[in-house]
């Protein structure tokens, strides 16, 4: 099936299979490997992308549905040079180790910050509850997210 979709503002025309997920298309067809697959079942959040302003698991999005849609991925929220304020805060706080969860975390928080100006710690936890991180113990992730929220609200 033919679809045209926008990824980070760039239009793509693709022939996709019914069972092909957005995560597979981003990674295997478009080479956007910043979106990770940790479970392929909607349970880990490593594949989180932003669709219509909302964080969703790309491993559970059927690509044929993406015809005419626009999606933002980690590649789209990263400035050409340097880091976004959110990314900067994550780095400064040492909020990750292996980094496999990190693009998904960035996208979950991006969706949150777009909707809520200065989220509470509880709202941050709710937004990140779908993002499993096995390395960091989450403590500095929360600190970094709070710092980034403050910075963005200013």
């Amino acid at each position: 099936m033919h679809i045209s979709l926008q990824v980070n503002g760039t239009p793509h025309r693709l022939e996709v299979r019914g069972a092909e997920t957005l995560a597979e298309v981003l990674r295997d067809r478009l080479g956007l490997t910043g979106t990770k697959i940790g479970c392929n079942a909607g349970e880990c959040g490593a594949c989180t992308v932003v669709l219509d302003g909302r964080a969703v698991c790309a491993c559970l999005v059927p690509t044929p549905r993406m015809d005419g849609a626009a999606v933002r991925t980690i590649e789209g929220v990263t400035p050409a040079e340097g880091l976004s304020p959110l990314q900067q805060a994550l780095v400064e706080h040492g909020a990750f180790q292996c980094g496999f969860c990190t693009p998904g975390v960035v996208m979950s928080l991006t969706a949150l910050f777009d909707r809520v100006r200065l989220p509470s710690e509880h709202e941050i936890r709710v937004a990140l509850q779908g993002n499993v991180c096995r390395c960091s113990g989450y403590v500095r992730l929360i600190e970094a997210a709070k710092a980034a929220a403050l910075r963005l609200a200013r």
Binding site: G42, E92, F96, C98, C133, R134, S136, G137, Y138
Partner: protein
């Protein structure tokens, strides 16, 4: 002279942070090589069977399949060939010994094709009796798995020792404590599953491998051995690694398989394990049963400790012997003990082989020891913390195993941990259901594990641009160790740390190193990095001295430059040095070489030094549900010297939160040797709501043996966490657990045994229970085996699909047409969170999915005066975010906030929540159960692990109703509106289900909307699940309605406890009769379990459902009472 403190001791940021936070870092999963194929592995479905025949021709016949591989292709070569314990081929030959064992592999043009081709391979098995319990495996007559040299069947290794006179110690004891402690399998759960890319160059005869491995050294050795080529022909390449924790140590099987496949296919091949495969074949921590006895004199002196332990090796030996020795170390060396003895057996079973996981068994043996230290303190009438300080190891001690303790601030660690948790106050004046606990640890820094000693080598190159490249074969799996190595080199050179680039893993660029395991990199490879820095200085100084005609010793390396002090003409920055001298390469070496420990008993001082530490935990227990919340963990760690505080703190945080998982929730659940909870929902790793406050402190007493005085640190964080939490739980509840994890179910069961009052179940109230109880009694011996046999031949096959058509109809009529299209197996898809996962699990097998996600006819929330109408396709997020809906139906709006995760709520729909298939883990594992395979098949929940199953109303299937919206909509008296395209049908919510996950909707019918009458805000939903967002263990929805100041209606509905959303009529009647006093609410709540018939593991659900019902009733009552006068009229109008 080097100024200490320039790089060492600084919180230098993670080197790789910018790549990782932007998604630019390339992990193995992300690699694509030109011409690359995809590999897939076919795994054994049997725990033990003879392979009669393998026929790969159906796979090879598929277009796009390039090569297959079976045991026949692998020559007569074992995996893990170094150690004497090698017992496993890379692919099974003639016999399989565990579910998930690799049987064959395929390389094909696409991943989907590779998976389909692997599934097409025909294997003829002849099942054999299997054994899963290590205690049974060593009993006479057990099925025979394997055995070690000169050992009885199923024993892989047996070691015993008696150091210092154990019998005498026990004979002289004033106090003896004794206990049996056990735990099952836990898994490392790296977020990146194991993956590998292999590329064979036929002309050169060389193999390049990119793989998430902690130990390129071992992987290379293994691959060379399997390919039958010299080691030098195999190159491991550098990649980012998404977590290790032991799960990627040694050489995971896929690396060998992928290498063989790539050579055979003549093209590069990539294999990435699925999450399920990772649990099935990725190796776990070992399970064990420990029988521990400790003896103390009247003054508390520990006279002796004896440990008997059976370690579950699984079907093959990988890390079992190392595990045996890691456990042994703690039994004889943590705290001063005069004598220690042990009897440790490593036992084969038909389960996934044990590998290694952070701590290597230490967290659990420390839990057992620390439980007994607490018990002894109690007997002695001593404070547990003070008692620990009395018996703590001290500098200069020699332990019964022969460890010579040098630096050891254990007493201080305990003191500081106690101070930071508020020990004195919290032990003296405990709050109800709160508790604090403390535990200590010992870890070698680091041990001599290999015949060659524990050695490390690095290469350090000054490059033409004046930067350095430090090459190491140690693999940084995320631990920041590359950053730490750069700090060492920078410190030694007094160069800016940014000047040091690190290339890890690449065996062509770096000399041999044993890799990242046993917390060795900072300590050993760090020593090599320092040595490399020194050699670089010597080389540079010698060359400059010759050019400048000055003595080399006169040159000073300082301030990111080198020169003759006071002579500006003879001073160069590093680019200047590089320009003048050209590139320079040196190698640094370090080895911990001590006399080998006694190979039979392990006696001997085998590490350079030992690290100590203490953790204190504070917990809060919910006695009603058995839930444990960790409020705070304090860690005080003896680090010698802290090289990078930020990196170390990260190791502490990560290990402690993994320890929380190990203590409270993580365990693999197996059915006939097959793991059934192979998802991140059912295997419960901590999520962000489980993360707790962590207070880290480090005690720095530089140790002469370590780099700049440092000790090792990677695994230390997890070692005492389980023990500290378990002791805190004991303080809060008075209960000491003998099995971990301390799940809410187990804690509730233990509390119930202590409670005088019992819930009155009155099972005879449902006459059907008599029949059910009778069948259940016959189940293990007769019904289950008979149905298993019958089901094997009569089982209904479900089609497994790897692809399907996808249609997006423009409107509802078109959707219904597509759904009913003759000759197709069509399914609706909206959020897809159940359908797509179910297809991958083999639950659903559509050939057409009809996408209704965008259909306007199914969308929208209309809050009317009397009725709220919610379109079936409304997402849960939309429900939670609608203010009008919150006001009208608070129970529904609040309830939906507790479903799954934000990502799921953003797409999952109300209809999807209601219609999702059952979540029984046997069903989801595609076991041929009654519901999966048809009426001839058994229910696995009767005899299997049934903690999450129904406690009432279950017959042939015990799967509970887990749709959160179901009980809410029943309590709210909602109506489902459905259409088949011709006519609309209104179905009262109470009659919507036939069974868990099965509705009364006809195959061609579509749910349009749900209508909910407005009956005032006196409604509530309460749910218990171990992690926020999980499916309910128990939930209760309540709606109360008053007319003229009198309670006119009370509707209660329960979720998670029965196959249907139950209405406890007796409870409702109680309320109507007795009103809403506290006593009446309690009585009504207790009556919800009338007629229940719990299974073996789920009695806790009875307490949980009573608790949530009472909470929901209280909240609804609050809301009723909070309403302004006269507001109950709306309800009266209906």
């Amino acid at each position: 002279m080097t100024v200490i403190g320039r790089a060492v001791g600084q919180s230098v940021r993670l080197r790789e942070a910018p790549e990782r936070v932007t998604g630019r870092a390339i992990y193995t999963h992300d690699l694509v090589l030109p011409g690359m194929l995809w590999g897939a592995i076919l795994r054994s479905p049997h725990p033990h069977a003879v392979i009669r025949a393998i026929d790969v021709s159906p796979a090879l016949a598929m277009a796009g399949v390039v090569a297959t591989l079976t045991g026949e292709d692998t020559a007569d070569r074992y995996l893990n060939y170094g150690p004497a314990f090698a017992d496993r081929y890379p692919l099974a030959r003639s016999r399989v010994r565990f579910v998930g064992e690799e049987v064959a592999a395929v390389a094909a043009e696409t991943p989907a094709l590779a998976r389909a081709a692997a599934a097409a391979i025909r294997v003829e098995y002849e099942p054999l009796p299997a054994v899963f319990d290590p205690a049974v495996a060593v009993a006479p007559g057990a099925p025979q798995v394997l055995h070690g040299p000169k050992l009885p069947w199923n024993v892989a290794q047996h070691t015993t020792a008696d150091w210092g006179g154990v019998a005498e110690g026990f004979a002289a004891a004033a106090h003896v404590v004794e206990g049996r402690f056990e735990h099952g399998l836990v898994a490392p759960v790296c977020l990146e599953t194991n993956g590998v890319v292999a590329s064979w160059d036929d002309a050169a005869g060389t193999m390049d491998i990119w793989a998430g491995t902690q130990a390129p050294f071992f992987a290379r050795k293994e691959v060379a051995h399997l390919l039958g080529v010299p080691r030098e022909r195999v190159r491991l390449r550098s990649v980012h690694i998404g977590g290790g924790f032991g799960g990627k140590s040694q050489s995971p099987e896929p690396i060998g398989i992928c290498a063989l496949l790539a050579r055979k296919a003549g093209r590069p091949v990539k294999i990435v394990l699925t999450r399920r495969e990772e649990f099935l074949g990725g190796k776990t921590d070992h399970g064990k049963v420990m029988h521990l006895r400790s003896a103390a004199a009247a003054d508390g002196t520990l006279l002796a400790r004896h440990t008997d332990y059976l370690v579950d090796n699984g079907a093959f030996t990988h890390m079992g012997p190392a595990y045996i020795s890691a456990v042994r170390q703690r039994t004889a060396n943590l705290y001063r003990v005069r004598a220690a003895g042990f009897d440790g057996r490593l036992v084969y079973t038909n389960k996934v082989p044990g590998g290694s996981y952070r701590g290597m068994g230490a967290p659990q043996i420390i839990w057992a020891i620390e439980t007994q230290v607490d018990e002894l303190a109690e007997r002695l009438g001593k404070d547990p913390l003070r008692y620990r300080q009395e018996i703590a190891n001290r500098p200069g001690d020699v332990t019964p195993q022969g460890f010579r303790i040098s630096t050891c601030p254990l007493v201080e660690c305990l003191e500081e941990a106690g101070r930071r948790i508020g020990w004195e106050e919290k032990r003296a004046n405990p709050k109800p259901w709160r508790g604090v606990g403390i535990a200590a640890m010992i870890n070698p820094s680091v041990g001599v594990l290999y015949p060659e000693g524990n050695f490390a080598n690095v290469a350090l190159t000054l490059r033409a641009d004046g930067t350095f490249l430090l090459g190491t074969q140690a693999a940084d799996c995320g631990t920041w160790q590359n950053t730490v190595l750069a700090q060492f080199a920078a410190e030694e050179l007094d160069a800016a740390v940014e000047r040091i680039d690190v290339l890890h893993m690449d065996t062509a660029e770096a000399p041999d190193d044993l890799g990242s395991a046993a917390s060795r990199v900072t300590f050993v490879t760090g020593g090599a990095a320092i040595d490399a820095g020194r050699r670089m200085k010597a080389e540079v100084a010698a060359r400059l001295a010759a050019l400048w005609a000055v003595p080399a010793e006169a040159l000073e390396f300082a301030g990111d430059a080198v020169g003759l002090p006071g002579d500006n003409a003879r001073r160069l920055d590093w680019p200047g040095v590089a320009a003048l001298l050209g590139p320079i390469r040196v190698e640094g070496h370090h080895v911990i070489d001590l006399p080998r420990a006694d190979p039979k008993t392990g006696y001997g001082h085998y590490a350079a030094t030992y690290g100590f530490g203490a953790q204190a935990a504070e917990v809060e227990v919910d006695p009603a549900t058995g839930h444990v919340r960790v409020l705070k963990v304090v860690v005080v760690q003896d680090m010698g010297r802290v090289i990078n505080p930020a990196a170390l703190e990260g190791q502490m945080h990560g290990g402690i939160v993994q320890g929380i998982g190990m203590a409270l929730s993580e365990e693999l659940v197996l059915q006939d040797g097959m793991p059934v909870n192979t998802s991140l929902i059912t295997y419960r790793v901590p999520r962000i709501f489980e993360a707790t406050e962590i207070d880290c402190a480090f005690i720095e007493q530089p140790d002469a043996t370590g780099p700049y005085g440092a000790k090792a640190g990677g695994e230390h964080s997890i070692n005492p966490t389980v023990a500290a939490i378990a002791n805190a739980v004991a303080h809060a509840t008075g209960i000491r657990f003998r099995r971990i994890p301390i799940t809410p179910h187990r804690l509730r069961d233990a509390l119930r045994r202590k409670e005088a009052r019992r819930l009155d179940l009155q099972p005879w109230r449902r006459p059907y229970n008599l029949e059910v109880a009778a069948v259940r009694r016959l189940y293990p011996a007769i019904v289950f085996p008979a149905l298993k046999k019958l089901g094997a031949s009569l089982q209904r096959e479900r089609p497994r699909v790897t692809d399907f058509d996808h249609e997006r109809p423009a409107n509802l009529a078109a959707a219904i047409e597509a759904l009913n299209r003759p000759g197709r197996r069509a399914k609706l898809i909206a959020g897809g969170t159940d359908l797509l996962v179910g297809i991958r699990q083999g639950i659903y097998g559509p050939d057409l999915v009809v996408d209704i996600a965008g259909l306007a006819e199914l969308k929208g929330i209309a809050v009317g005066d009397d009725v709220v109408r919610i379109g079936a396709g409304t997402t849960l997020a939309e429900i939670t975010e609608d203010p009008a809906l919150h006001a009208a139906l608070p129970a529904l709006a609040e309830g939906m906030e507790l479903v799954a995760t934000q990502q799921i709520r953003n797409v999952a729909t109300l209809a999807g929540d209601l219609c999702q298939e059952k979540r029984c883990w046997f069903f989801r594992a595609a076991l041929p159960c009654y519901k999966f395979g048809g009426a001839a098949c058994p229910c696995y929940a009767i005899t299997g692990d049934n903690r999450h199953h129904s406690v009432m109303g279950a017959g042939r299937c015990a799967a509970p109703c887990i749709a959160d919206a179901a009980p809410i909509l029943v309590a709210l008296d909602a109506t489902v509106i459905a259409t088949d395209g011709r006519r609309e049908r209104r179905i009262p919510m109470e009659r919507f289900y036939r069974w868990s996950g099965e509705t009364v909707l006809a195959p061609g019918e579509v749910m349009l909307a749900v209508e909910v009458p407005r009956a005032g805000p006196a409604q509530a939903y309460e749910k218990y699940a171990q992690w926020r967002g999980d499916f309910p263990e128990a939930s209760a929805a309540v709606r109360l309605r008053q007319v003229g100041g009198r309670l006119a209606e009370a509707r209660i509905s329960l979720g998670g406890v029965a196959p249907l959303p139950m209405r406890p009529k007796a409870s409702e009647a109680t309320l109507l009769r007795d009103g809403l006093s506290d006593e009446a609410l309690r009585a009504a709540a207790e009556k919800v379990v009338r007629g229940a018939l719990p299974l073996r593991d789920n009695a806790a659900k009875l307490d949980m459902v009573v608790a949530v019902t009472e909470r929901a009733l209280r909240r609804a009552r609050e809301r009723l009472q909070a309403r302004p006068q006269g507001e109950d009229e709306r309800g009266a109008q209906e």
